[in-house]
Symmetry: C2
Subunit: 253 residues, 2 copies
């Protein structure tokens, strides 16, 4: 659905794999409708929560059937650009990590990328979010991060609860970066974490090994509380060293 719009197809060629619609010919009406909506959002300078015209209104304006418009809205919704629901007016949606999460999940399932490759990207991102959090966190954010780190230790006998705090710790750090793009990217890893975390945890056979994991999380929180970007980065890096090792031990590629 997302296609290269005519207005953007300057002599600068996009450096991604060839676009299927370019290879196979004209844009479908659905694709055109999709662009009409995104153009509307841009031209009207709409913000999150602002109303959009309904399916029917757009269909009338564009001279297409309602079915075409529905499909365009469906695609926009799939990409989380708009929010639609039975009986409700369509609105501009806040970005969330779900589109990227879905892509990642699919890419891993179809053997395009490995979990370890995702983890390399994840490490790259999260080292940076740790640094930014140490530089930009509010006191409340630092406390929240520390709370989740300690809660992991408190609940280490209950994997599900501990894992929840693990998630929330990473998320809180990304939020404390004060760049929501980082936060959404980090959020997009959570599906894969849901699958790999239990496997990795199962490879930590001794209380000592498990304690090291907890200590690493606490060290990250400590560095952020201390506003020490360097320490935060090193602590997060150590955490990922361990995490990747556990994945390898679990046979995850």
């Amino acid at each position: 659905m997302p296609v290269r719009s005519a207005t953007k197809k300057s002599n600068i060629v996009r450096v991604s794999p060839e676009d299927a619609s370019a290879v196979h010919g004209a844009q479908t009406l659905v694709q055109k409708a999709f662009l009409a909506v995104t153009n509307h959002i841009r031209v009207e300078k709409l913000k999150v929560g602002d109303r959009l015209p309904s399916e029917k209104s757009f269909a009338d304006m564009l001279g297409v059937s309602r079915a075409v418009m529905r499909e365009a809205f469906g695609a926009l919704s799939a990409l989380r650009l708009i929010d639609v629901g039975n009986g409700r007016v369509p609105r501009v949606r806040a970005m969330d990590g779900l589109a990227l999460a879905t892509s990642l999940d699919h890419a891993v399932n179809t053997a395009q990328i490995t979990v370890l490759q995702v983890w390399d990207v994840r490490r790259t991102i999260e080292l940076r979010t740790a640094v930014l959090a140490a530089e930009h966190r509010t006191d409340a954010e630092a406390e929240k991060i520390m709370y989740h780190a300690k809660a992991m230790r408190t609940h280490r006998k209950d994997f599900a609860v501990m894992a929840q705090h693990d998630f929330e710790l990473h998320h809180a750090i990304a939020q404390a970066s004060h760049n929501i793009l980082f936060a959404q990217v980090v959020s997009s890893f959570s599906d894969l974490m849901t699958v790999s975390l239990p496997l990795a945890w199962a490879t930590r056979n001794t209380a000592k090994e498990r304690t090291v994991v907890l200590e690493r999380h606490e060290a990250i929180a400590e560095a952020i509380a201390n506003k020490d970007p360097e320490a935060a980065m090193l602590a997060m890096d150590s955490h990922f060293d361990g995490s990747v090792q556990n994945l390898l031990n679990a046979g995850i590629k």
Copy 2:
């Protein structure tokens, strides 16, 4: 469309903004159909290019109308998970950066994030791809990178051509990282580059300023050719320092 599937809704709660369908109730048939397709891909262990059942087949199997299935396929296509087209059988698609690019474009247009924030994420990613390229590049890849860097200088009087090589240089570096997720993420920045590159370039008023830009690109290529990860990272960092400054000079936030 992408929704939390029932099988994944363990007691581990996803740490992203609340899912609209969870707030508003049951999944639509389209959402269910979407998941049926993604499940099919996973269970059958399909790979890129493998055939999928047609709209009609899925509709029959799932007991839904073809219209529902069309919408589900449309959503899957929007996210680049499958490839569909008039007369052709549906197939599993290779990930490309287009879904993420669309998200980024939308987020910037709706003032959710700023171009500078995207550039911070971009810098984070591209410092890492420079390092990986220095470590993992093939000779052919190193030559390609150098070719594009030199071509930028050769064509500095023709902005469009120079910018094309600029794009391709960044893309080639990401490809040389040998982690396609990095490559796709880098690819997803190209739309925003299309818009911001001319603006930034226009702020470089003297031949000297423009030469510095070219030298920075060449320095990156040199470091990668020399298999020097540290130099590659520093060179890319300098490049971004200049790039961000140019954006600021251009009044881009």
